[in-house]
């Protein structure tokens, strides 16, 4: 695989790196908010993957126009899917933050190790 091919799948490299960064943050950080940020980054990477795969070179939005033959358009399905996934991600984040707020109210801290010590 030469350099050109490697760069050609640039988007996937970004996907992989962002995914790893996100996962690392979730695992390594003890601050719960940072964990949630990591989780969001992690999910965003997947959105990126879906958006990348639907792109067809030279494609337009998938709207049928009168008089245009052999129209090339990007695959709309992954976009629809990822719209749903974004909604899911946002709800998860919102719920996660709500829980962090509750944790802060009851434990007075959002550091994981301090919470474990408190019980």
């Amino acid at each position: 695989m030469n350099l050109f091919e490697l760069l050609g799948i640039f988007n996937y490299w970004v996907f992989a790196i962002v995914l790893t960064v996100g996962l690392y943050t979730v695992i390594a950080k003890t601050n719960l908010v940072k964990k949630l940020i990591g989780l969001s980054i992690f999910q965003s990477a997947v959105f990126l993957m879906y958006i990348t795969m639907d792109k067809v070179e030279g494609g337009t939005a998938p709207i049928i126009q009168k008089g245009v033959e052999n129209q090339v358009f990007s695959n709309p399905l992954p976009q629809v899917l990822i719209l749903t996934a974004i909604v899911v991600g946002v709800s998860t984040l919102a719920l996660g933050l709500a829980i962090v707020v509750r944790i802060y109210e009851t434990y007075d801290t959002i550091e994981e190790n301090e919470i474990l010590d408190a019980d």
Binding site: L19, L23, V26, L32, K35, L36, L39, F42, Q43, V46, M49, Y50, M53, L77, P78, L81, T84, A85, V88, S91, T92, L95, G96, I99, V100, R102, I103, T106, Y107, E112, I115, L116, D119
Partner: protein, 495 residues
């Protein structure tokens, strides 16, 4: 109008649409009644479909009349009918028994929200079971997960919050892994319909992305299913949840993830990837065996009764995975039957614990000493369900254990090791179940004894589930018919 063909859709729509309606029912008695009625109705639908499936029918439903692969397809076969029966049965039992316990644990004004989230979780889980589409499974999985996070966090104990946070992060990672896998398969095949995927993977020239996808999907779902060693979120989440939520989730939440794991693997990968069956077993069987042994050992020394049973769930998940890892009819039948029987035993146990918790605030084992003296029926239900968990003949647990051991015998050189481990873990289960019984019956009480039995409403449901453990131990033909049809169905999709 004959509604029968629409049952798969109704199965999801009924709880999903009634969930916001419950919010409007301000008097909490009404909210409970509404939720319980919906759960019972769902159970009736599931039972109806299960009976039809046992007669050899299958349900296939296209939403809005759009044909697959463009439309969204729902399907109900032997396997999903069994899982639906477990989900709706657990929900109905939990909700029918819920009122006294929920009144105690959840503030009155939040109760409609609680029941609403409960129905949403039910809708999500049933949605997973009826979906024939990989992405819909993801969406329903997240609906049910989000709802269960809310449910678990709703308890009065503050330790529920860190537990649910852990569950949320690990659950989301699992679901995202699954999503990555599905995306990769979609990239290579251009479809999300499971049946279509199976048909099209054969034409894929570069198989590597599919292999990576299989890895992502298996790990992601194993995380959701709490397969050892990915189970760390489970014990605390179950232990700290409101008791009635534990009943529901312990009986079916992880099982649905296992269901997706098995279904996805068999429907999409087994028939297309060379040596996949072997890889599948060599990856999962050791995890299952370690899970069985380690989790049972931990359960033997666990001091909190709900954590003890949660650890035991991890071990029992090991049995289910072990059976599936044989890739044989016998093994899959055992797995499917154990899905059902374990739900019955563990659901019954957690229901009885809910009964104990009505009078005992602290559920550490030593605090419960002597509880049987004033709560004889609840304690008797714990004995019956506990024996079912151990696998004593005459109880439901014995049936699946027998099937599993019989399936293991055909496993060649490994057979003796497998049987030895299953029997050893049964003995360990006996040890931890006996610890509970010993404490309840023989230890001198350390806290003020319960003034009497659990409330009648709760007790009645506990009794029904306990009796079901015996009935399905002596007359298991119905769940077995579903299990074996599920196994045959899955095996049709192997090389």
């Amino acid at each position: 109008m004959d509604l029968t063909p629409h049952l798969p859709a109704l199965q999801v729509i009924v709880p999903m649409l009634s969930s916001p309606l419950i919010l409007l029912l301000k008097p909490r008695g009404l909210a409970w009644a509404g939720a319980a009625a919906v759960a019972l109705f769902s159970f009736a639908i599931a039972l109806n479909m299960a009976l039809a499936v046992a007669r050899g029918n299958e349900f296939y439903y296209e939403m809005g009349g759009w044909q697959a692969p463009y439309g969204i397809a729902l399907s109900v076969d032997g396997f999903s009918a069994l899982v639906l029966l477990i989900i709706t049965g657990a929900a109905a039992a939990a909700l029918l028994a819920a009122r006294p316990s929920v009144d105690q644990q959840i503030e009155a004004e939040r109760q409609p929200l609680f029941y609403s989230a409960f129905l949403l979780a039910l809708a999500g889980l049933t949605g997973i079971a009826v979906s024939a589409d990989a992405f819909n499974i993801f969406v329903f999985m997240e609906i049910s997960s989000l709802a269960s996070y809310v449910l678990i966090a709703g308890g009065p104990d503050r330790r529920a919050l860190p537990a649910v946070f852990k569950y949320l992060t690990m659950g989301t990672i699992g679901a995202t892994f699954y999503l990555i896998g599905v995306g990769m398969v979609y990239m290579m095949t251009g479809t999300l319909n499971l049946a279509d995927m199976e048909a099209r993977i054969g034409d894929v020239t570069d198989i590597n992305p599919i292999l990576v996808a299989a890895g992502f999907i298996t790990i992601g779902l194993a995380l959701k299913a709490a397969v050892f060693p990915l189970h760390v979120w489970l014990p605390n989440a179950y232990a700290q949840a409101p008791h009635i939520v534990t009943v529901f989730l312990a009986a079916c939440a992880t099982k649905v993830a296992i269901y997706v794991l098995i279904r996805f693997d068999y429907f999409v990968f087994q028939a297309n990837l060379e040596n996949h069956a072997l890889q599948f077993s060599t990856f999962l069987a050791p995890l299952a065996l370690f899970g069985i042994l380690v989790a049972s050992a931990v359960a033997m020394f666990e001091g909190h009764i709900k954590r003890l049973l949660a650890m035991s769930s991890v071990a029992q998940i090991g049995y289910i995975i072990l059976g599936a890892s044989f890739v044989t009819t016998a093994g899959l039948t055992a797995s499917a039957a154990h899905l059902f029987n374990h739900a019955l035993a563990k659901g019954g146990l957690f229901l009885a614990i809910t009964g104990l918790a009505y009078h005992y605030r602290d559920l550490r084992l030593d605090q419960l000493a002597g509880a049987a003296r004033t709560m004889p029926w609840t304690a008797a239900a714990i004995v019956v369900c506990g024996l079912s968990l151990v696998g004593i003949p005459g109880t439901a647990g014995f049936i699946s254990k027998w099937l599993l051991i019989n399936a293991a015998i055909d496993n060649g050189d490994m057979a003796w090791l497998l049987i030895a481990i299953v029997l050893l873990s049964s003995l360990m289960a006996l040890a931890y179940v006996y610890r509970i019984i010993d404490t309840l019956y023989f230890k001198p009480a350390v806290v003020a004894q319960a003034p009497g039995e659990a409330p009648m409403q709760l007790l009645l449901v506990i009794g029904i589930v306990a009796v079901a453990n015996i009935v399905f131990g002596l007359f298991p033909s119905f769940p077995l018919a579903l299990s074996s049809s599920a196994a045959e169905l899955l095996l049709r999709h192997t090389l």
